[in-house]
């Protein structure tokens, strides 16, 4: 019989028993509802071992790839170690700051070299832990082939982590990282699909990774990048993005300033501009990163404009309250 390990305890599965049944039989308090594989309340992640493919039915492909599964329909044929979805702590490790370069007055590019190899996809995020325990999430802009982790950090007024990174963190010093997390990244397999990438402020960071990962994997469909901000200092990588669009005929780049005026920049919000230029998103894949309200509103609008739910990948940069 197979065994499952959860919260450092190991349980034997009875014959024909699901992971959920086994956990409940042992009195483990774990969420569930329909017990038939449709509501996704019981979603877990296998941190060791591979869940059977049937137990991943209906889950977002970017989660399937990370071994998420539904406990209520999972009858493992081999041993699994599990954690609850939404509560995944991956191993921490140290990383060295190898580069710190301002990309604009408000955005700092940080490049880190992790001590051990870190498995990630561009567009996912890692958690940075300062020695006093302060923890914040930052998205990954670099490609897996670049050999470093690149982060773009926006300076937030009175922001504890962001101002510390901008003003105090030194090249050569070491910082604790944990990850990678998140289901907003490029998966190959549908190279002709048009992509819509919308970001505000440092929400460009994951999009810069995602767009280049798509091109690296031979994406041939159109890739539309809309990057917006309220302040000109938060529009960055403009030259690099223009070059990307020149080099790849399928890339379109539209920088947007929500108000004011700037040469070569569209006036209007990024999401409004993108949605009015692409009123039908049926068949598109959509990536949304940055301001939480922009992300959540646009998710809904993109879905109503015809994008499949599974094709809307979003990372709201939720503000910490602690």
């Amino acid at each position: 019989m197979s065994k499952i390990t959860f919260n450092e305890k190991t349980y034997d599965l009875n014959e024909n028993e699901t992971v959920l049944e086994c956990l409940l039989r042992h009195g483990v308090d774990t969420p569930y509802s329909c017990q038939s594989g449709s509501c996704q309340s019981c979603m877990m992640r296998a941190t060791e071992g591979t869940p059977p493919i049937e137990a991943q039915a209906g889950i977002k492909p970017t989660l399937q790839q990370q071994n998420y599964f539904l406990a209520c329909i999972c009858k493992p044929s081999s041993d699994l170690s599990l954690c609850a979805a939404g509560n995944e702590a991956l191993p921490k490790q140290q990383a060295t700051v190898i580069d710190k370069t301002p990309l604009s007055a408000k955005i700092m590019r940080l490049r880190l070299a992790p001590e051990q190899s870190l498995s990630f996809q561009p567009g996912q995020f890692i958690n940075l832990h300062r020695d006093d325990g302060l923890t914040r999430s930052y998205s990954i802009a670099s490609l897996t082939t670049e050999g470093f982790l690149e982060l773009h950090i926006e300076l937030i007024e009175n922001g504890r982590m962001s101002s510390w990174i901008h003003n105090e963190l030194e090249v050569g010093s070491s910082i604790t990282i944990e990850g990678a997390h998140g289901d907003s990244f490029y998966l190959g397999g549908r190279p002709e699909q048009p992509l819509l990438l919308i970001g505000t402020g440092s929400g460009l960071s994951p999009l810069w990774g995602i767009a280049r990962a798509a091109l690296q994997q031979g994406h041939s469909g159109e890739i539309h990048i809309y990057h917006g901000s309220r302040e000109p200092q938060k529009l960055y990588l403009m030259e690099e993005l223009r070059q990307l669009a020149t080099k790849h005929g399928n890339v379109r780049y539209t920088p947007c300033l929500s108000s004011g005026e700037m040469k070569g920049v569209h006036v209007g919000r990024a999401a409004d501009t993108a949605l009015s230029e692409h009123p039908s998103l049926s068949g598109w894949r959509v990536f949304l990163c940055g301001h939480p309200q922009m992300v959540n509103d646009t998710k809904r609008k993109a879905f109503l404009a015809g994008a499949n739910f599974q094709d809307i990948l979003a990372d709201p940069f939720t503000i910490n309250t602690n």
Binding site: C34, Q35, S38, C39, Q40, G58, R300, F303, N308, F309
Partner: protein
């Protein structure tokens, strides 16, 4: 034993095809979309699948009591027959759009209708 409605409609694949269509209709329907505000869209989307699987007579372990408890907070916010009718209408329109034959739609409607008292806490 005769095949269940769920199997005749096309099982899991049919439900998957219906979820986006149905959820889009619900979100666009001003009579009922306020009940779905403020809940994480991914969770809500998965629950639409639970709803459709149930309405199409597919595998589920929900009891009438579960439906009562699961919608009690909505009844407290004013959920009534008119909202239930709106959901029924969206269900019918979704299945019609997918080309499901009328007699099967009627069967699905009857299953959903049978939960009315529990959903509305009557």
């Amino acid at each position: 034993m005769s095949q269940s409605l769920y199997d005749r409609i096309g099982g899991d694949a049919a439900v998957n095809a219906a979820v986006d269509l149905f959820y889009r209709k619900v979100l666009a329907d001003d009579r009922i979309n306020h009940f779905f505000d403020g809940i994480d869209m991914a969770k809500q989307h998965a629950k639409q699948k639970a709803f459709l699987t149930m309405a199409l007579g597919g595998p589920n372990n929900y009891t009438g009591e579960d439906m009562r408890k699961g919608h009690a907070h909505l009844v407290a916010r004013g959920l009534n027959d008119s909202h239930f009718d709106a959901v029924m209408e969206n269900l019918g329109a979704t299945l019609t759009e997918l080309g499901v034959p009328g007699d099967l739609i009627a069967e699905a409607a009857a299953i959903a209708e049978s939960t009315r008292n529990d959903v509305l806490g009557k």
